[in-house]
């Protein structure tokens, strides 16, 4: 079936099987490989993207379900002038990534979390990231990056 979705501001239209999950629509039809698949039970959050600005796990959404809506992936997060988004920036400055596999999902989840609560506590961040798994960092620097990004975003406003 033909499915139109706006991905990172670009109108995409692809003919895919009805059972196609959003993550495979993004990876295989649109060709954006930044969004990763880490499990098959909606547990790990590696595939997290923004749907109309809010985080969703794209392995648990059918592409057909979000026809006509707006999706943002890691490839679409950088600022218009090409600089990294404050969340991306904070991840590098705080060493919030190692192997990088959970990173796109983490960055999108935190972007959504900070939109919801611009001034979160450490505990709020930790609970908010419960659905995003990382095996490398022990989460310490991911949480630090989220806190640093919240400050950077506040200063920007």
């Amino acid at each position: 079936m033909q499915i139109d979705i706006t991905v990172n501001g670009t109108a995409e239209s692809h003919d895919v099987e009805a059972r196609t999950l959003l993550v495979y629509y993004l990876r295989d039809a649109v060709g954006l490989k930044g969004t990763n698949v880490g499990c098959d039970t909606t547990s790990c959050g590696a595939c997290t993207v923004l749907l109309n600005g809010e985080s969703v796990k794209s392995c648990t959404v059918l592409a057909a379900q979000v026809a006509g809506e707006e999706v943002t992936t890691i490839e679409g997060l950088a600022l218009e002038d090409g600089r990294m988004h404050p969340v991306q920036q904070a991840f590098q400055e705080c060493h919030g990534l190692q192997c990088g596999y959970c990173t796109p999902g983490m960055v999108m989840a935190i972007t959504s979390l900070l939109a919801e609560n611009p001034d979160p506590t450490e505990e709020y961040i930790r609970l908010g990231l419960e659905g995003n798994l990382c095996r490398c960092t022990g989460y310490h620097n991911i949480v630090a990056a989220a806190l640093a990004a919240s400050q950077a975003l506040e200063m920007r406003q």
Binding site: E17, R19, R27, K33, G34, T35, N36, V37, G38, C39, D40, T41, T42, S43, C44, A46, I74, E75, L77, A78, M84, Q88, F91, Q92, E93, H95, L97, Q98, C99, G100, Y101, C102, T103, P104, V107, E122, I125, R126, L127, L129, E130, G131, N132, L133, C134, R135, C136, T137, G138, Y139, H140, N141, I142, V143, A144
Partner: protein, 763 residues
Amino acid sequence: MSILGNRVLRREDPKFLTVGGTYVADLALPGSVHVTFVRSSMAHARIVSVDSTYAQAMPGVLAVYTNDDLGLPKFPTIMGMTNEAMTPPMLASGTVRYVGEPIAAIVAESREIAEDALEQVVVEYEPLKVVIDPVKARTDEDLLFPDAGTNTSFSLDFGGDETLFDDCEVVVELTLANQRVAPCPLEVRSAAAHMSEDGRLEFNSSTQAPHGVRDALATFLDLEPDQVHVVTPDVGGGFGAKGAVYPEDIVVGWCAQKLGRPVRWTETRSESMLGLGHGRAQVQHVRIGGTREGAVLAYRIEVLQDTGAYAGFGAVLPFMTRMMTSGPYKIPRAECASYSVVTNSTPTTAYRGAGRPEATAAVERIMDLFAREIDMDPAELRRRNLIEKDDFPYTTPVDTVYDVGDYHRALDLALEVAGYDDLRAEQVRRRTAGDVRQLGIGLSCYVEITNGLPDGEFGAVEVRPDGKVIVRTGTSPHGQGHVTAWSMLVAEQLGVAIEDIEVIHGDTDVVPRGAGTMGSRSLQVGGAAVNQAAVDVVEKAKDLAADLFEADRDDIVLDKANGRFHVVGTPALSRSWAELAEAAAKDGTALFAEVDLASPGPTYPFGTHISVVEVDTETGKVNVLRHIAVDDAGRIISPLLAEGQVHGGIAQGVAQALLEEVVYDLDGNPLTSTLADYSFISAAELPSYETRFTETPTPVNALGAKGIGESGTIGSTPAVHNAVCDAVAHLGVRHIDMPTTPVRVWSAINDAVTGHGTAKGGR
């Protein structure tokens, strides 16, 4: 000023953060077909038949292959040490021995078709008796390999000295489980293969050891190593479990050869939970003895290692456990014996620490019980028995030679950072008040071995006429940050900007040799090789400069602040690296050095971890309040990366102590085969950590560096475990096995308070 020891941000990051890494599943491979594997649903059974008629007839299915079709040999033993009868076949041959064992490979035009075809393959089984408990396996009552006549795959039959504990006033014993856990890298196993136009096998692998994959493919597929080209793109974590070559890798290569089409395979997470090797899986019996004044005199550990269904690397993990038997303590007499047995479960393999965390877990848990028995503070008992800094090099009773250390310094610093006395006072307050939430304080002093299976490593540095520096390394990072760290090492030697350095790894055509990244070896061997190549290339540049300046070779100076060479006393007349590379090119050579560094031998990082937990005595729930880690990995080249390694290790240690366990039922059915069922630790269960480094440089390598990749796991696991047991010790609980889940902790408290038997796991 030196760049080493500074907090240099990772050069790898911008790509990961803006477009994501390039993992095997991301690689474009036009026209590729997909492999999936029919896997056993039985833990132990004879295969009566495999009927793939329906699957083969499905549109889009190219082929279904069983082991007979492949005609490939079995895997070899591990270094000739494991039982030859117990090595795995490529695909199941006649008998299946664990749930998830690959039986047949399906090749189809798309992954979806291949998965649909899976359901059309009918396997008929004749069930055999299932052996899932390693204790039962050791009795040899039911055999996995009847021809072998035993379930024992490997043993280290040392010890048995009857007089070991003769002069001990106090002897304490414990049987404890070091449970089976799943490594769970976020990226599952994945491979892609095709034949190049000139007939070579091109192979992409998510591995820790690309050259190992190349050599295995060549051996199994009867090719010369140079007919195989392995490229390892970004790898989404490994933790030891991607150090081995798996049957699926070889089958993917075989299919590409057989079909002449590009082939790719990416397992699902649920497959990965059964197919990727598991870690730990030991049952330990330990005995410690000493005086009432706290002098430990004797220690014995007996290890029962669960190998899983076939004897792979998991079988020889006790080798490492034995090397670290007596930990950081000066125990006059110590012994270790081990028996590895096969069971109807996923084969075990290396997992972050690989045999050493198990050694530390045993000695640290029994040290706490010994302290309790003689009514001494556990920190004081440790202080009285730690090896002194003047004792190095120190030879242990099992003949392991520790290089260098200052174990007391790490303990003292950890106690200071923790505010140990105040914590104990708070614990007394809560105990006296009978608070619902009791405080537990757990210590772990550790020493471990890194680069324990000594291999050498390849490193090369080339300066090009455009001023760019090309570094090639035999290590194969999967999150460790070698691009940044090796750039720092080379920048330090050459006096160039790290932006001008390119680091190449994971391509067996460009990097001729390499042992890969495992066992915390990379910096101390691979980094040292790159460092040596950089030193050598400076020497070569000085030769060239001497010719150009028509000066004495010994008068040539490299001004590292500017990256320029001049004759001593005349800095105004100088040549850049690019100019010297240009001069070399004109001579028809290159400004280049490569090094095959022989292994300098293992090093022994050490430290002390302290965990502070709160246990809700009404629910058994454990909350980790603080984790203090003092680690000494010799000289720290990159504090940013070193800290990151410790952080990740701590989380995996807390995970094993509190949450994670691979569970099978008695019929060998896995009960934790998805990430919904397996308690993979999340941010919500962890605090931020308090990390410190002491630096005691090792004389073993030129960098003074020891490994840091696994220390966090080794130090943290027993600290957290001891903290949980400590929190409820005053209620009469002696021991709770890991993972100390709420139900286990609650049961232990309940049993102790009501006087009913021993809690589950409290053997």
